[in-house]
């Protein structure tokens, strides 16, 4: 943890405050307060105080009372009581009710205080981690719910379609109709396959660790061109690629290909069918420790108010082509893993450009 641990000491005797500060200000950032009101002001200003020492015998209220009261307002700092008196009953009571973590006898010796601080700090850190983990779990559960719902719909959908088609087959009279239906069934099956593959990518991204290798952008691009050549020709889409790699670049090849594939397949899919000069352009530049990728198309574009939402799981901005709903989510996820970034520039009806930046590892 960067910086010194912040601790607060409350005591009605100024000499004690001075003595405490003098002893510990080198190792810790020490705040002091003469009374509980002053203490609360300091706690408001410094919510990252980890440990609070409080004297038990004070004029307005005892340390135990103070801790019991402020606990709900300031739940995070760990509470330690300083007591010279054998006020054992109330101290034990306080410990048992969780109002205080432990007590230290007055007059203290430095070693006792320091070990109390270290123990208290460990407790503080594990509690904070717990809170963080709880938040993460909540998010994960929410995602799981959304996921389970969408998955059952997106998997069952095509399957029940095919079942329905089989039912209808009994009623079809002509081979032409049958062929028409078979073509539609094929589309369903492919859609299902794409979905399952994307889901597989999703899981791989979640679990996997980065495997860094040197990337030759020209080689990467050649692979992409190979992959999309047939589709591009069949649909009269021109596919251009430009590479400017000025230095070696290390990255996870699987994740990089996942990102580019998702963006390229979208670019090819969401074209304006009637357009004569349909094109998809890929440009890569590696210089000064960063790789920048531009994937541009002159297709249907994305409505302005959706440019944030398209990265949400299962969000679809168009019903024109069947997307799995995973693609851009996976891209965003992948970029988080690589510490990269993505920007969308799109005009509805004119085209879209995605700009990706990834730092060299």
């Amino acid at each position: 943890m960067p910086g010194k641990i912040k601790i607060l000491y409350i005591d009605d005797e100024p000499n004690n405050l001075t003595g405490f500060k003098a002893s510990f200000r080198i190792d810790y950032q020490v705040f002091t307060a003469l009374d509980t009101t002053e203490a609360e002001i300091i706690l408001e200003k410094h919510p990252d105080i980890h440990v609070i020492f409080c004297d038990q015998r004070m004029p307005v209220k005892t340390g135990v009372e103070f801790f019991g009261e402020m606990r709900s307002r300031f739940p995070l700092p760990v509470r330690i009581l300083l007591t010279a008196y054998t006020d054992i009953e109330s101290v034990i009571d306080a410990i048992n009710h969780g109002h205080i973590f432990r007590y230290v006898k007055k007059p203290w010796n430095d070693a006792d205080i320091m070990s109390a601080i270290e123990e208290a700090n460990k407790f503080y850190i594990s509690n904070s981690l717990l809170t963080v983990k709880n938040e993460e779990l909540k998010i994960a559960y929410n995602e799981l719910d959304k996921f389970a719902y969408s998955v059952s719909h997106d998997i069952r959908g095509p399957l029940s379609g095919i079942l329905g088609a089989i039912n209808v087959a009994a009623n079809l009279n002509s081979v032409t109709e049958m062929k028409e239906m078979l073509a539609l069934m094929e589309k369903s099956v492919k859609k299902l396959d794409v979905f399952i593959l994307s889901m597989h990518d999703y899981y791989t991204l979640q679990r996997g660790e980065l495997q860094l290798t040197e990337i030759d952008m020209n080689y990467l691009v050649a692979g992409m061109q190979d992959m999309y050549k047939v589709y591009a020709n069949a649909h009269q889409i021109s596919f251009t690629a430009e590479v400017n790699q000025q230095e070696p670049f290390r990255c996870d090849a699987f994740i990089l290909k996942l990102i580019l594939n998702n963006l390229l397949s979208n670019a090819f899919k969401y074209q304006r069918k009637e357009l004569d000069n349909k094109r998809v352009a890929l440009r890569i530049e590696v210089s000064r420790g960063t790789a920048t990728f531009w994937v541009a198309d002159n297709g249907i574009g994305i409505p302005r108010h959706h440019t944030e939402e398209i990265f949400t799981l299962f969000f679809r901005a168009t019903s024109q082509e069947a997307g799995s709903g995973f693609g851009l989510y996976n891209v965003k996820d992948a970029l988080i893993k690589l510490n990269g970034d993505i920007k969308v520039d799109s005009v509805l009806g004119e085209g879209t450009t995605f700009t990706i930046t990834i730092p060299n590892k």
Binding site: H153, G157, N167, V168, K187, S319
Partner: protein
């Protein structure tokens, strides 16, 4: 009494199936399919109120991208009452959770539910239901 049918489903295959099922089960040729709810709304708005024929039965898929079945029903209920009276909304349900199911059946204009994939038996049962309730007075509706 031949009902006209309109099918709204984002899956081409499901539209095809619905069409074929209707044509072969009830020998009815009047089926129009839309894969986009927005297009269907345009069509209905253009058609206006239809008074010289029995109501058109509208099979509506609920879970669709961009304009969902929910969006469609909400827009539909904004149309003039005599246009609404020309249609009978049937929601196509499939793998829907309880919330979505109760939400779609909560709409006033959604009169029936039909499970996907549509089978001949389910279609005939639906028509039986529709024709049975057709004789009831319209007092208090719309």
């Amino acid at each position: 009494m031949k009902h006209r049918f309109i099918v709204i489903d984002d899956s081409e295959l499901d539209c095809f199936i619905a069409e074929k099922m209707i044509k072969h089960t009830i020998e009815n040729e009047q089926v129009i399919a839309f894969t986009e709810a927005a297009r269907a709304l345009e069509y209905i708005t253009q058609q206006g109120a239809v008074t010289d024929q029995p109501k058109a039965i509208l099979l509506l898929d609920v879970l669709m991208p961009v304009v969902s079945g929910f969006d469609f029903v909400e827009a539909f209920e904004q149309l003039p009452p005599d246009v609404q009276r020309s249609y009978l909304l049937v929601a196509l349900t499939s793998t829907m959770n309880k919330n979505d199911l109760s939400r779609i059946s909560g709409y006033k204009s959604v009169k029936h539910l039909l499970d996907k994939p549509i089978t001949a038996e389910a279609l005939l049962a639906l028509l039986g239901e529709i024709d049975a309730t057709a004789g009831e007075p319209l007092a208090g509706s719309l």
